[in-house]
Amino acid sequence: MRARSSRYALAIVIVAAVVGAWLVPSFVHGNFWLHIFDMMLINAVLALGLNIILKTGQVSLAHAGFMAIGAYASAQLTLKLALPFLAAFLLSGILAAAVALLLGRVILRLKGVYFILFTFALNEFIFLVSKDAVALTGGNTGLVGIKAPTLPFVAGSLQTKAQFYYLALAVFLLALAFLAALYRSPFGRAMDAVRESEQLAEATGYDPMRVKLIAFVIGSFLAGLGGSLSAHFLRYIAPFNFTFWESVNFLLMNIIGGSFSLAGPIIGALILTPLPEFLRDYLLWQQFLYGLILMLFMRFLPDGVTSAIGMSVRAVVDWVRTPRRKGAPVAAETQP
């Protein structure tokens, strides 16, 4: 009974959240806030992509690199080859996934800090390529004049931030639904097994390499899609969008929100996306502040905000459900 009512509660919360999210452009009119809401959704897609990689126990600092692959691919496919947005969008995800598939076979053999270091170097490499491969990336100047997204059966392009919002929301919801289904599937269990003990997982019939590779490819696919979205939203991309610090940012979203549930990276994206806008005048302090936040979370809330919310919700529910009628014998509860 308890499981069923909590499932209804969850369904209501989800429906309310989706309806609420859908209504945002009707209530938020200033471009400043609409810009932030759009970026929140793009960042949430990217943070979700990193979440599935983290779920197999691999901490990647190359996420912004895969985002860059998607962003440049999507921009050039629409600029140079004049592909429609939707085709470029999907191809950019596929390209990032293909790169992950090729590299993953090698780098996923690295464990722990070695994997972190290698992905850090990989992100730097992609960053350098984006600076130096001028013909492909426009070098330091970047690419300007990227077109706003167009959609089949929709007249014109999604020029305004409010129009773009619905596209970003749709992509975000699809990504979320896909991951939610995947996490509940036998493959979700396999990812948890590999993260918790690769040794035991392998000794009980899981192929850790395959599990990690699939997760890395899916996560990078989402990074590529997120890169494409951001390119067509900002209409301008340059190397500084894809530094190592951006990768740290996606990692922070997962840590602050909590990487053990899908709500975590979403909440992390909601919290961290607006921060730079308010810290604009204190750019020097930003990295310091991020480091501090990271350390505080690691120390006091290692499982992120969602774990704290989960704990307090459970505490409230338990308190509400605890019978407090004076003198009522507890044993009576168990009688049929």
Partner: protein, 257 residues
């Protein structure tokens, strides 16, 4: 009876050390075989070689007549070889139930989408998985603690859970590395009981153990190793009386017990 596992000429070198040297033995289907030897004799290394966690320097491992040297550990599990570890290895942050579910799901894992609610046979799959998990928990006497996080279990229960996870893969051969190390006599007797019951269900057992009286009571056949070489092989009586075995265990009070 037929031969389930056979190793021939198995050797493993670690730098200059011959951890296992030219070891050959075979295990009959349905038996309980003990692998004994002093600390550092190479018993755990034999497990690692047989199960594929390590590659032998030389030699062959056959399971049901098939050479499995080239197979990674997870594929050997799918053939029916399972093991436990000397130091208990569990999914320590997960519940007892989840630990067993992971062992079950690895082998019988259907397509990804059958886990999607409303698609495929999700409910049937999940119910079947849970039913089998609770059957297993009943079997190892852990049903009462099914929702406890593995790291919070008492030591004896942790060892049983390790066995349950291995059992969840439906092995034909179950290899146990020192299953009663650090246990008190009551826990040891329980584990011996559990191993017998597993064997009665048709699972062949290979058990490494230090506790000689435990091995002598449990096993019908014993292989004694020292310095990576086989010293003796036979019934408990034969092995116990073997002069080389006695020499290897000289000063080891367990032999007298």
């Amino acid at each position: 009876m037929s031969e389930l596992l056979s190793v021939s000429g198995l050797s493993k070198r670690f730098g200059g050390l011959n951890a296992v040297s030219d070891l050959s033995f075979s295990i009959e289907s349905g038996s309980i075989v003990g692998l004994i030897g002093p600390n550092g004799a190479g018993k755990t290394t034999v497990f690692n070689l047989v199960c594929g966690q390590q590659q032998p320097t030389a030699g062959e491992v056959r399971f049901e007549g098939r050479v499995v040297n080239a197979l990674p550990p997870f594929e050997r599990v799918r053939l029916g070889m399972a093991r436990t570890f000397q130091s208990t290895v569990l999914y320590t942050d997960s519940t007892v139930l989840e630990n067993v579910l992971r062992g079950l799901a690895a082998r019988s894992g259907p397509a990804v989408w059958s886990g999607v609610p409303g698609l495929g046979r999700w409910r049937a799959y999940r119910d079947d998985l849970h039913r089998r998990a609770f059957d297993l928990l009943d079997f190892v006497d852990l049903r009462d603690v099914h929702d406890i996080t593995a790291r919070n279990l008492p030591y004896g229960h942790q060892r049983s859970l390790g066995v349950a996870i291995a059992l969840a893969t439906s092995p034909k051969l179950l290899m146990l590395d020192e299953p009663v190390a650090g246990m008190n006599p009551a826990e040891t007797a329980q584990m011996a009981q559990l191993i017998r019951r597993i064997n009665q269900q048709g699972t062949t057992i290979l058990v490494v153990e230090h506790d000689m009286s435990f091995v002598m009571q449990l096993c019908g056949h014993i292989i004694a190793v020292s310095n990576g070489r086989k010293l003796a092989e036979g019934t408990p009586d034969q092995v116990q009386r073997d002069p080389q075995v006695i020499a290897a265990y000289l000063g080891d009070e367990d032999v007298a017990a």
